[in-house]
């Protein structure tokens, strides 16, 4: 994974994992790699990997069973809530960029409607 040098690593790994969960690459209830395996997989510091799980757990995206490891939440509502939250962030970034380009909201909507429909591909 290519990391953005200006943002905390743990937040970037959290987003990558959330994306995997939202897209179903990781299923509800699925066991996640151990902290060490996560560190190896993303080539990150083991303490950073531990922090990723702590934070995901705090957010209710995963849970830890003592001695068994960390698992994806079974709560479908929490996962779709997470999807909405991430979509909101992407949208906010998009809107700010459009505003900087002096493009009105109506114009932006028009542009979206005219753009290639990547959902059809």
């Amino acid at each position: 994974m290519k990391f953005n040098p200006n943002a905390p690593i743990y937040l970037q790994v959290i987003d990558a994992l959330k994306l995997d969960i939202i897209n179903g690459r990781l299923s509800p209830g699925e066991k996640l790699p151990s902290g060490r395996d996560l560190a190896v997989r993303y080539t990150i510091n083991p303490n950073t990997a531990a922090r990723v799980y702590q934070e995901l757990e705090r957010q209710g995206i995963c849970f830890t069973k003592r001695g068994m490891g960390t698992f994806v939440t079974n709560d479908a509502d929490r996962i779709s809530e997470c999807r909405n939250q991430m979509a909101k962030e992407v949208l906010d970034t998009f809107l700010v960029s459009m505003k900087e380009l002096n493009i009105s909201k109506d114009k932006a909507i028009e542009m979206i409607n005219e753009s290639d429909d990547i959902w059809m591909i």
Binding site: P5, N6, R36, V40, T43, I44, N45, R51
Partner: protein, 230 residues
């Protein structure tokens, strides 16, 4: 816990390390960074007990560094220190004789992980293979502190990935790893703390994530800031 207290090392006409005071904790991977000749290697050699400070003290878990500390500190220097005629297996035996905490089993595992083979003769190894062998031999010890001087030097991308993976795999809450490098960007991801040495002195200690959270910059950015205009 490793304490460096007012550590200074003077050679005939040069001060290699000057008044370096810092405390390093187990459970962390430290990068020790700075240009060539800034004093990184000299400081590590003092921690390894290979040379003595001119003044100041280095303590490991409260005990001053001496010959005995070598049992607890696994140090990999930049210089090659094996004989040409040896095979990789011989290197394992050589280490096994030297260090009580060396595990032949773990060595064999690491040799395999790094795509090397036990019966290879050292004189046939490329510089990248040699670098990997040195790391395998060092990491096959069960030490409190691992110090790797320039482990990423002169090796290709694949070998670099293997080395990084080894470092991550063996780091845990009871171990301390100290890794020096010029390749700040590569090393950045796997460390949690960077120690900057500049002109023989400690310039600063920076947390990987705290730099990103508080200043929005990477260790590499900080490095450019600190060493960019000399």
């Amino acid at each position: 816990m490793l304490e460096s207290i007012n550590v200074t090392k003077k050679f005939l006409n040069k001060t290699a390390v000057e008044d370096v005071t810092m405390t390093l904790e187990k459970g962390h991977i430290y990068a020790i960074l700075g240009p060539n000749g800034s004093g990184k290697t000299t400081w590590m050699k003092m921690v390894a007990g290979l040379i003595k400070p001119t003044s100041g003290t280095i303590r490991l878990d409260g005990k001053e560094i001496d010959i005995q500390s070598r049992k607890e500190i696994a140090y990999m220097s930049t210089e090659p220190y094996f004989y040409d005629w040896m095979t990789i297996k011989d290197v394992g035996k050589y280490y096994n004789d030297f260090f009580e905490d060396f595990s032949m089993e773990r060595f064999a595992y690491l040799v395999n992980e790094m795509s090397l083979e036990m019966n290879l003769k050292l004189k046939t190894l490329s510089s990248g293979m040699m670098a990997k062998l040195k790391i395998a031999a060092t990491m096959a010890r069960d030490a409190k502190i691992y110090m790797l001087d320039e482990p990423l030097n002169g090796i290709d991308l694949i070998a670099r990935d293997e080395v990084m993976k080894t470092i991550i795999t063996y780091a845990n809450e009871d171990k301390m790893l100290i890794v020096s490098s010029h390749l700040v960007e590569e090393l950045e991801m796997i460390v949690d703390t960077a120690i900057f040495i500049k002109n023989a002195r400690l310039q600063g200690i920076y947390g990987l994530e705290s730099l990103r959270i508080n200043e929005g910059i990477s260790i590499a950015d900080k490095y450019r800031e600190v060493y960019g205009k000399c």
